[in-house]
Amino acid sequence: MLQSIFNDTFLYLAFIAVKVGVTISGVMFSLFFVMWFERKLIGHFQVRLGPMRVGPHGILQPIADGIKVFLKEDLIPANAHKFLFILSPFIALFTAIIPFAVIPFGPQIGSWFGKPISIFGHPINWYITDINIGILYAFAVSSLTVYALVLAGWSSNSKYSLLGGLRSAAQMISYELSMGLAVVGVVMLSQSLSLVKMVEAQSQFPFIIMQPIGFIIYLIAAVAETNRAPFDLPEAESELVAGYGTEYSSMKFAMFYIAEYTNIVTVSALATTMFLGGWIGPSWLPPIVWFSIKMMVFLFLYVWLRATLPRFRYDQLMQFGWKVLLPIAIGNIFITGFVIAIINK
């Protein structure tokens, strides 16, 4: 009896560990593609070619960059708070990766072109875990990123870093509200906080049809949350050198960089799950492929905005976040609730 419980538990834990490993390595691998995709796309937006030399059409460029940054000298400023200076890139990367624990890349019973797949009789579900407050967990965890940026800005003991850290704190807190409120509409429609249930509620049509305003608010807030153009004030190179990353070099800088891109993949995955119908799609492609395609569409939007819009001024950023986005998000919740109440009557 005890033996069998031990065996089952051990098997269960091993299974989870393997799944975590596969997810993290998959996400890390996809980052290389995302970096290449962005550089290539931004090049073509500017009527350039983008990276062309390393590998066919520059596909190996991110790997070359990774090797380069790994071989760089690692510098710690003399007056920096050493412990926090080293800790903050780790926080950034850690908080960027852990939301993937709840993101469903596919349905519970995994299938590949219609055939169910299983290992040792266990059906494979395409997510690490399905907790009933998945969306809350994802937002709570990814909002911890602000600690990394603020601590990095403060511990560097440099004026540019400090200003960048302060800006990122103010910006992320301001836009997190709108982001959370934009999602409330989806939660009301799906009657659940679990991400798997949310996708299953979209089996007829994706929530972007019923929540277009929510989607746009989420898109804007997500761009601001990940500190990307046109909301890249924390690392505004024209005034702050590189913001919180000014004093960082080598692998520590790379960790911030990877964390930024992981955050982009995270918010794209969450948007796909909540608004674009997740893995659901016609059955001639496997669910995970549909998920990837939808994520790519969101990433394309990201790059498109970056290629088009100039950076906001700081007061415009605050004004837009608090006076425009937040009231619209609250109004959206009211309207959604009103419509649901009428339909259910």
Partner: protein
């Protein structure tokens, strides 16, 4: 409200540009041929008989604003002529690091011995290789008398 229309207009503009043909030239692989009269690397020409056109007058060295040309002239030996004239340049040295490609040397040259070719590929892997002596500057035989279209100054 006007901001939204402006943003949509901007997004549309960039979207159209996405489908344009990139204007990038993949330089070492493909090049755009420059105008033949563009001022690239120096060439010392030979005449039809394979003699140097340079007569060692040092006008080019005198006119050079960055003083990058150094010439040591010597009398021609009648039995072993190097040039048509009385003298020839025993040492003709150009420091390409100092050259500003103004073309005054070419304009000053009385025998059209010195020209600026259209070759702008001036890359070397050692600083020493940018001090060019006569053997680096004399034209290869196949182009020795052809000055058609080259920069020879406003003559």
């Amino acid at each position: 409200m006007m901001m939204i229309f402006a943003i949509i207009k901007g997004l549309w503009t960039t979207f159209i540009h996405l489908f344009r043909k990139p204007i990038t030239v993949q330089y070492p692989k493909e090049t755009i041929p420059p105008s033949p009269r563009s001022r690239g690397r120096h060439r010392l020409r030979l005449d039809k008989n394979g003699l140097e056109l340079c007569i060692g007058c040092e006008l080019c060295a005198g006119v050079c604003p960055s003083k990058c040309i150094y010439i040591e002239a010597e009398e021609n030996d009648p039995n072993d002529r190097k040039s048509e004239g009385e003298r020839y340049a025993k040492v003709y040295r150009i420091d390409m690091y100092r050259c500003i490609f103004c073309g005054y040397c070419v304009e000053a040259c009385p025998t059209d011995a010195l020209i600026l070719s259209a070759n702008y590929d001036l890359t070397v892997d050692s600083r020493r290789k940018f001090v060019w002596n006569k053997e680096d500057l004399v034209d290869p035989p196949e182009t020795r008398t052809d000055i058609e279209g080259y920069y020879i100054g406003w003559k």
